[in-house]
Symmetry: C4
C-alpha cells in the first residue's frame, strides 16, 4: 500500500471483481422472484405473466451487458484506488435498483410512470459507469490498446446515456418508445467488439500501426 492508501493490483482487484460478481449475480437472480406462480393452473394464467416476463428479459440483458463491460473495464485497472472502489460501489448501488423498477414495469404493464422510472434507473448506472471508467483510466492506461479501449468505451457510455435520456420525452408520447430506447442500447452493446470499434473509434489507428 502506498502513501495514498492505494493497494497494489494483485489479489485486491480479484476481490473487487469477486464482490461485484456476487452483487451482480444476486441482482440478476432476484429479478426472477417477481415471476410469481399463478394460483390457478391454466395456460391463460401463465400467459397473463407476459409483461413481467418481458421486463425480466430486458433487465437480464441489461445487467448481463454491465457484467460483460465491467469485466473488460476492470481488466484495464493498474491499481485499486479509493476512487475506483467507491465509484464501483456507486455503480453497484444504482444497479441494485433495477429489480425494483423491473418489477414495477412488469406489474404495471409498461405504463407511462413505470417506464419513466425504469429509464431513470437505466440512466443512473450509465452515469456511474462513466465515473468508474474515468477512475480506471486515472490509474494509468498501460498500453496503446488500453487508451483505445478507454476512448471507444467512453464514447459508447455517453451514447447510451444520451439514448436513455431521449427515451424520457419519448415515453410521454408513448411508453413503448421509451422501452424501444432501452432495447436499442441493449442491442448495440451486444454487438461484437470489433463492430463496435468501427462505430465508435473510426479515426484512431489500430494498435499495431
Amino acid at each position: 500500500m502506498n502513501e495514498a492508501g492505494d493497494i497494489e493490483r494483485e489479489d485486491s482487484l480479484t476481490r473487487v471483481e469477486a464482490f461485484s460478481d456476487g452483487v451482480l449475480a444476486i441482482i440478476i437472480t432476484i429479478m426472477v422472484l417477481e415471476l410469481k406462480t399463478p394460483i390457478q393452473e391454466s395456460l391463460s394464467a401463465l400467459w397473463a405473466l407476459w409483461p413481467i416476463f418481458i421486463a425480466y428479459v430486458l433487465s437480464y440483458a441489461y445487467v448481463a451487458i454491465y457484467w460483460v463491460n465491467h469485466h473488460r473495464l476492470l481488466g484495464h485497472a493498474r491499481v485499486v484506488t479509493s476512487g475506483l472502489l467507491w465509484s464501483n460501489m456507486l455503480l453497484l448501488f444504482t444497479l441494485s435498483l433495477i429489480p425494483f423498477s423491473t418489477a414495477y414495469l412488469g406489474e404495471h404493464h409498461f405504463g407511462r410512470e413505470a417506464t419513466l422510472l425504469y429509464l431513470v434507473t437505466m440512466i443512473a448506472p450509465a452515469l456511474a459507469y462513466i465515473l468508474l471508467q474515468s477512475r480506471v483510466a486515472a490509474t494509468g492506461a498501460k498500453t496503446v490498446a488500453s487508451r483505445r479501449y478507454h476512448k471507444a468505451s467512453h464514447r459508447k457510455g455517453l451514447a447510451a446515456a444520451a439514448i436513455y435520456a431521449l427515451g424520457i420525452p419519448l415515453t410521454l408520447l408513448s411508453p413503448w418508445l421509451g422501452v424501444a430506447c432501452a432495447a436499442l442500447v441493449a442491442g448495440f452493446w451486444m454487438l461484437p467488439w470489433s463492430a463496435m470499434d468501427r462505430l465508435f473509434l473510426d479515426r484512431i489507428p489500430p494498435a499495431g500501426s
Copy 2:
C-alpha cells in the same frame, strides 16, 4: 485482448466461472424458499408439502448436474470469446427460470400444465448448453482428450434434449411419464464419466492409442 476483442484465458475465464457459480448457487438456493413453513405445527401439515419437496429434489439435482457439466466444459475453453460469454449468459438465463417452473410444479401437484411448463424449462437450458458447447469447441480443442470430450458431451446433450422433447407428448398421456423423462436424464448424467464414455463414445479410440 486481440483485434476481435477476445480476452486471454487467465483470470478472464476464472471470472466467468465465478459469476456462473454465483448465479447457479443462488438459483439452487432460492428454490428452497418455496418450501414455506406451514402455519399449523403438525406432521400432517409437514406431510402436505411432499410435492413441493419432490419438485425441489428433482430441480436441485438438475441444476447440480448443470454445474458439474459446466465446470468440466469451461475447463476446455482456450480463450474467452464474445460468443462464449453470451451463450453462457443465455444458459444462465434459461436456468434462472427453473425456480419458477419448480414452484409451479410443486404447488400444482405435478399437474399436466405444470409438468409441460417444467419440461419446457428443461429443454431450454439443454439447447443453450449445446450452443455453449459449440462456442467452447470453437475456441479450439487443445488435445485429443478435448476432442473426445466435446464429441461425447455433444451426443449426450442431444440425447438429453430428445428425451425432454419426448416427455412433452408423454405428459399428455400422464404427467408422471413426463416427470419420469426428467428423472431419467438426471439419472444418466449422474453416472460416472467413464461409464458415460462407453455409452456415447464407443467408436473413438482412447487418447493414448
Copy 3:
C-alpha cells in the same frame, strides 16, 4: 483429466470451494429473512421475535461450523473425483433445508414437532459430511498430518451424528433437551482444533514423533 474423468486438483478444487461458499453464504443469509419486521413499532413487538432470533443464532452457528470444517476438509483433497463432487452436492442439499427447519422452529416457539424436524435436518448434513470425508480420504491422504486429520475428524463426525440422534428421544421428553443436544454439538465443534485433537485422537502419536 484422466481416464476415470477425475480432474486435477488446481483450479477445479477452487471452483468446488467457490460454489460451496456461494451456497453456504446464501443459506446463512436467507435465514435472516425470517426475522420479519413487526407491523407495530414497540419494544414488546420486537421482543416477541425472540424464538425466531434464537433459532437464527443456533442455525447460523451450525452453518458457520460446517463452513469452517468444509474449508479444512477440502484442503486435504488430492484430486476432484466424481464421488467428491456428488457427495459435496448432497451435503449442500441437506444444508439447504436448514432455513426451512429453522423458520419452523422459530415460528412454532421450539415446539415438539418443530424440534424433531430441526434435529432431522441436523442429522442429514452430519451423515452427508461423513460420506464426503470418506470421498476426500479416498483421494489419498498425502501426509501423516492428513491421516491424523481424517481420523480425528471422522470420529468427531460420528460423535455429532450420535448426539443429534440421541436428541430425538429426548425431544419427546422435552423439546428443550433436543435443542440442548444441538447446542452441545455446536459448542464442541467451536473449541480450538488442538483441544479437539486431545479429545478425539489421544492414542495416535503426533506427526513429528
Copy 4:
C-alpha cells in the same frame, strides 16, 4: 497446518474473503427487497417510499464501508487462525442483522424505537470489527506499515463505536440526531485514507522515516 490447527495464509485466506464477500454481497442486495413495488401506479405512491429508500442508502453505504475496511484488514493477516475465523463469523453475523433493522427503520419512518434498534445493530458490528482487528494483529504485523495501519484503524474503530453509542441518548431527544450520528460515521470512513491518517495517526512517523 501447524499443531494449533492454523492454516497457512495462501488459498485459505482467499476462501475466507470469498465467503465474506458472498455474505456481504447478499446482505447488501437483500435490503433492496424491502423496496416493495406500490400497487398503484402513480408518482405519489412512489414518493411514499422515501423513508425506505433513505434507510436503504444509509445501510448500503454502511455495509459498503465494512466491505472496504474488511478487504484492507484481511490483507494484513499473516495466517488464518481459529480466532480470526470465528471473529470473522461473528462480524458477518452482526452485519446480517442490518437488513432487518433497516427495514424496520424505513417502515416506521425513522421513529424513536426503530432508530434505537438501528443504532444497536450498528454498534454490534463495530465491536465485532474491533475484535477481528485484534485477531488479525495477533497473527503478527509483518511490517512497519502494518503496525501503523493497525494503530490508525483501531482508533477509528473505537471512535465509530463511541459515536454510535452517543447516538443512543441523542435518539431519545430526537431520532434524527441518532440518524445523524450514523451518517457522520459513514462520512468520516469514506474520506480518503491519507486524510484519515492525519486525523487518527498524527504522532506516528511515516513508514519510510
